[in-house]
């Protein structure tokens, strides 16, 4: 809400600066987001009074005016024709400068010298209006400096009004808060309503409300023979400052009142209303209605409609109809001021996507007690600006229920806030914001809530008001005195931390991506329709196609991260992400699994002076996976890869206890290309939930043998068809004295030669050669039994 400082001053005496006020409002819960300062961009301009206007003897389009500048009468030439004798006008004296930096000098045109210049609003830089000379109000003093004219110097506070404070979507509402801050009472606007005693509104029109839940209060007031003109400067200026556009005197008045008092109004062309009647009802069936912006709107059951004898003429609180809009030919205006059910307005406005200044206020709830006051004020302003006759009286339905008082316990307030506020101060605080204390008792009081405060309904709402006015700064800072509780550590959190520690110390950087994917990603990865990763949770209103679904695996987003980096010159990358993936579940919320994804591309480092680092390969990523499994006390087995997006020869599926938990290896080149990655990339994605389910956080100490190890190396020729990994397991099984089996050499020369190192150790004794030899024989025997394995001698 944009609030002109000068306008506020109409309702409350402000003796502090705009900046100080902004600060105090902020600390009251009305955050002032910015203060815009308006300064005159002219100088040397005073208020002049036109004494005489004559035609220029030698120039038809110029007039010669005698203008009283307060000090003297001067002669001024003028080309505009909207001036008349006794008008107060801005006169730029010799030496003055205007908004476009024009300097005023003596000027002689066809024999007559001009001692100044009469100015338009545009020349003064106060509006875009250049249709004529700016005619000032009659009551400004001749000779006064124009910059002293109200509204020229101003500050506009941009206030972030909390959503529950619809009452402060008006200058008067803010003034009420300001008054409370400054220990005053805001003054309501004063005006005179001069109606024609002979013609009564009720003789012109009838009013009927069918549903007083939807519309508990409705007022119609009529004005006849007003002319639609341009509004005076002060009104246009204020409307402009509040961020709306002035249109004409009738529309401007309705907007002005909405800004001033928070009551949206609607003007009907009375003569276009069929049967001279207004009915308010809630639509019972769907229909189509053309609003004044020329759009056909689909109405539905539940929308509040303003109807005449034939059908809808306005969509209540949202927009008027084309069929009853005022035009230049309008002779009688029927002005509507009403209270509509906030929820119904909101529903309709949401559904139709129309968010107007009016609907914004109606849907937060306006002041039910202010409905007719606003109508009176509006109609009197219309008469003042546009002339015409106000018809006597109004048509009104008022079914507003009385609000019940709320009992507030003094003790509860201080108990809730941790304060010791005096009873008297509590009551004064509430009175300052126009809450009425109905009854005072020793331990509490009953407070009645005015109809502009829809946000106060129970004790705590009142406590909040007390806190706000008392000042949050004045509430002490304490710590609660509580019993100790068992602090439950999160098992999942500990697993994640442990995994992150492992990966970070293995050289991986953690990435975090949005939980979205595009459908295209599923295609890119060639995921078949029957694969669970193809059944995704879709977002109804995504930001873009690329973020259209919830991710079912992590790989695509991390590939994008890799491309982002390689495109910027970072070619050696190790990254991981631990994050949620989502799968639909018919009857419940989608199921959420935790995945971990790791990727490596390039090499460990670009170069080292001592040796040339080598590029990553399959065994680097496999080592990471094996290492991580070991870190959690798990063992994985690696089987033929079934993932469509992997290079099958250099990839594997990962199993644990016969259950597939992920995959690893080299991504297909064509898939990488879709993500703009041009280097070999090795990665792995695993279900991290399984780690949490089956893995170990804590280890169990195994005693260390006091006896020496025995080491034996064996070399075999092993055909390529025989997986060596399985042989390691096989050897291990041959004796409990074998503590480790490793492969220390492998080469191909005609046949594949593999060298194993086996370490033997006992917890009971120093192993004798004979014992080790026996096992050695057994190893050789068992391995060479297999077709395709021979001992290399």
């Amino acid at each position: 809400m944009r609030v002109p400082f000068e306008w506020l001053k109409e309702f409350v005496v402000i003796d502090i600066s705009a900046h100080e006020l902004a600060n105090r409002l902020t600390m009251r819960g009305f955050e002032v987001e910015s203060i815009e300062s308006r300064k005159p961009c002219f100088s040397g301009v005073v208020v002049g009074c036109i004494k005489e206007i004559k035609k220029h003897p030698n120039a038809d389009n110029l007039s010669v005016c005698t203008v009283d500048t307060g000090k003297e009468d001067v002669t001024v030439l003028c080309g505009a024709d909207n001036i008349s004798k006794n008008d107060k006008v801005p006169i730029a004296l010799i030496g003055a400068s205007l908004s476009d930096s024009t300097k005023i000098e003596l000027r002689t045109i066809k024999g007559i010298t001009s001692y100044g210049m009469l100015c338009s609003e545009k020349e003064l830089g106060i509006s875009d209006d250049h249709t004529g000379i700016f005619i000032l109000p009659e009551d400004v003093a001749t000779g006064a400096r124009l910059e002293d004219l109200s509204g020229i110097m101003d500050f506009i506070l941009d206030i972030n009004v909390p959503p529950n404070r619809g009452d402060c979507l008006s200058i008067f509402g803010i003034a009420r808060e300001v008054a409370s801050i400054l220990n005053q009472k805001a003054k309501r606007p004063i005006f005179r309503l001069e109606a024609d005693p002979k013609e009564k509104a009720e003789d012109f029109i009838s009013l009927q409300i069918h549903d007083t839940e939807a519309c508990p209060r409705y007022v119609l007031r009529l004005i006849k023979d007003s002319s639609i003109v341009k509004s005076p400067f002060w009104m246009r200026d204020r409307i402009n400052k509040c961020g709306m556009r002035p249109i004409n005197s009738i529309v401007d008045v309705t907007n002005y009142i909405m800004l001033e008092l928070g009551q949206p109004l609607h003007a009907f062309d009375y003569e276009r209303l069929n049967d001279r009647r207004i009915e308010v009802r809630v639509a019972e069936k769907a229909t189509v209605f053309r609003t004044l912006d020329g759009e056909d709107r689909g109405l539905e059951k539940g929308d509040i409609l303003i109807c005449d004898g034939k059908g809808p003429v306005a969509l209540a609180g949202i927009m008027g109809g084309e069929n009853s809009e005022i035009t230049d030919n309008t002779r009688i205006i029927a002005l509507e001021s009403a209270y509509f059910n906030p929820e119904l307005i909101r529903k309709t406005s949401r559904r139709l996507g129309i968010k107007s200044e009016a609907s914004l206020r109606f849907e937060k709830g306006i002041d039910l007690d202010n409905v007719d006051f606003a109508a009176q004020r509006a109609i009197s302003l219309m008469q003042m600006i546009s002339g015409g006759k106000i018809l006597k009286g109004n048509l009104e339905v008022n079914e507003a229920k009385k609000r019940e008082g709320i009992f507030i316990n003094f003790g509860k307030i201080n108990e809730a806030l941790g304060t010791a506020i005096e009873h008297r101060d509590v009551l004064n605080a509430l009175r300052s914001i126009d809450l009425h204390i109905l009854q005072e008792e020793d331990n509490g009081f009953v407070v009645s809530i005015p109809w502009f405060r829809h946000d106060i309904n129970e004790q705590m709402d009142v406590v909040e008001e007390v806190a706000r006015i008392y000042g949050y700064d004045n509430v002490p800072v304490t710590t609660p005195t509580l019993a100790m509780l068992q602090l439950k550590r999160s098992k999942k959190g500990r697993f994640i931390n442990k995994a992150k520690d492992f990966l970070v110390s293995s050289g991986f950087f953690e990435v975090i991506n949005f939980g979205f994917l595009g459908k295209k990603d599923i295609e890119n990865f060639l995921i078949p329709p029957e694969d669970p990763r193809s059944s995704y949770v879709e977002i109804l209103n995504p930001i873009s196609k690329d973020y259209g679904i919830m991710r079912t695996f992590l790989a695509p987003n991390v590939l994008r991260n890799i491309a982002y980096n390689t495109n910027r010159g970072t070619k050696n990358i190790r990254v991981f992400e631990i994050g949620k993936v989502f799968f639909p579940d018919n009857n419940n919320l989608p199921s959420e699994h935790l995945h971990v994804f790791m990727a490596m591309t390039g090499r460990e480092r670009e170069y080292f002076w001592r040796e040339q680092p080598r590029d990553y390969d399959f065994f680097d990523i496999k080592g990471i996976i094996e290492g991580m499994a070991g870190h959690f006390g798990l063992t994985f087995d690696f089987r033929t890869c079934t993932e469509p997006f992997m290079d099958k020869k250099r990839s594997a599926d990962i199993y644990m206890d016969g259950v597939k938990i992920g995959w690893l290896g080299e991504l297909r080149e064509d898939v990488l290309k879709l993500y703009e990655i041009e280097q070999k990339t090795f990665c792995s994605e695993l279900r991290f939930d399984r780690f949490i389910e089956w893995g170990q956080l804590d280890c169990h100490y195994k005693a260390i043998s006091r006896y020496p190890q025995a080491i034996r190396d064996f070399s075999f020729f092993i055909e390529e068809s025989i997986p060596v990994g399985n042989l390691i397991e096989k050897i291990k099984m041959l004796s409990p004295l074998i503590v480790s089996v490793g492969i220390f050499d492998m080469f191909r020369k005609d046949k594949r030669s593999v060298s194993f190192r086996v370490i033997f150790q006992s917890h009971e004794e120093t192993l004798r050669d004979e014992t080790v030899n026996n096992i050695q024989e057994k190893i050789i025997e068992e391995l060479t039994k297999i077709d395709g394995i021979t001992l290399r001698v």
Binding site: S34, L417, V504, P590, E592
Partner: protein
């Protein structure tokens, strides 16, 4: 006396020809060996008379000892020289770069999460989590935001289908926890949240930590106390802060917590929009309606809740000026924290 001068000359020549230990080893038998240069002179002694035998023998012996000493000295000198040579070969340039281990890093959001969790853990808060895809009921209704409530405008929501949304805050976890247990409750819930917003200062997903403390007799002043401790821990003890009235549908009274702008120290700058203050978290006393919704009696217990954006805290802590940096995952960015 014949031959001794000659022998001396031979020895001198041989000795001066020695350039290395190897030469020395080769020369040594020639000079001192059983068949060396001395042997024929020793043989000759036998044929001399007694008197001559004595003097000649003595002179010969002296010469031999001298030669032995000369060889010893030469050997030591050569060994020293050789040692110096090997040392020169094994010399390294200690100013060459070492091999720095390649380690990774956790994401700055993770780091800030850990820090926040650690601080609240020290105050007795446990971590609670909930689903990212949430029922409208938990995300809104239970938190006193019924359908068509104006507060729904505050958060642009992603919808999955009727009644199911991407959570717009981690507050639904509060409700789930309170539904599942009786007071006292002391939890924080970290997690990802989603809002339909994507521009220079908003990402459609970001992270929050929310906290909840419910017990008998929890006061607004306690909220101020706990959050003051938190702010001092995370931004430093000299950080000034203020509590400012605000509005959230699920708390009352509600307070926005501002800290003195870390960039301009309160003088006013672009980051704090010239106010000198930065919004850092939202908080308030749990709304009685929220308690009623989970079956707690607001007359019996009270509590406070708070929530903060992790990216925002990270940005202020590390001086990051663009929220989108967190999601580019540029290694040049990630390696700085």
């Amino acid at each position: 006396m014949n031959g001794l001068e000659e022998l001396k000359e031979i020895i001198e020549n041989k000795l001066s020809s020695i350039k290395s230990i190897e030469d020395l080893n080769n020369v040594r038998p020639y000079l001192l060996g059983r068949k060396g240069v001395f042997s024929e002179h020793i043989e000759r002694i036998k044929h001399l008379d007694k008197e001559e035998k004595k003097t000649y023998g003595q002179r010969l012996n002296t010469l031999k000892l001298e030669t032995e000493n000369r060889l010893k000295e030469l050997k030591a000198a050569l060994e020293e020289k050789e040692r110096e040579a090997t040392e020169r070969l094994s010399w390294i340039d200690i100013t060459l770069p070492g091999k720095i281990p390649v380690v990774g890093n956790t994401h700055p959001i993770t780091k800030v999460f850990y820090e926040i969790i650690e601080i609240f853990a020290s105050l007795g808060f446990s971590v609670a989590e909930g689903p990212d895809i949430e029922l409208d009921y938990y995300n809104f209704e239970a938190l006193n935001i019924p359908p068509h409530h104006p507060a729904r405008d505050m958060q642009d929501t992603f919808y999955i289908k009727e009644g199911i949304v991407l959570r717009t805050h981690t507050s639904p976890v509060q409700v789930r926890v309170m539904e599942a247990q009786l007071p006292p409750v002391r939890i924080i819930s970290p997690g990802a949240v989603y809002r339909c917003d994507n521009d220079i200062s908003h990402t459609p997903m970001f992270h929050q930590v929310e906290g909840l403390m419910v017990d008998k007799g929890i006061r607004f002043s306690d909220l101020k106390g706990i959050l003051t401790i938190f702010i001092h821990e995370i931004f430093g003890d000299d950080t000034s802060l203020r509590f400012r009235p605000s509005y959230f549908p699920f708390t009352e009274p509600s307070a926005e917590v501002d800290i003195r702008c870390v960039i301009c120290k309160g003088k006013g700058c672009r980051v704090c929009k010239d106010t000198g203050w930065l919004e850092i978290l939202g908080s308030g006393m749990v709304h009685p309606q929220v308690f009623r919704n989970v079956g707690y009696d607001p007359e019996e217990i009270s509590g406070f809740a708070f929530g903060m954006g992790v990216e925002r805290i990270a940005m202020l802590k590390y001086g990051i000026d663009d929220i989108r940096q967190f999601y580019y995952n540029d290694l040049r960015f990630l390696s700085q924290f």
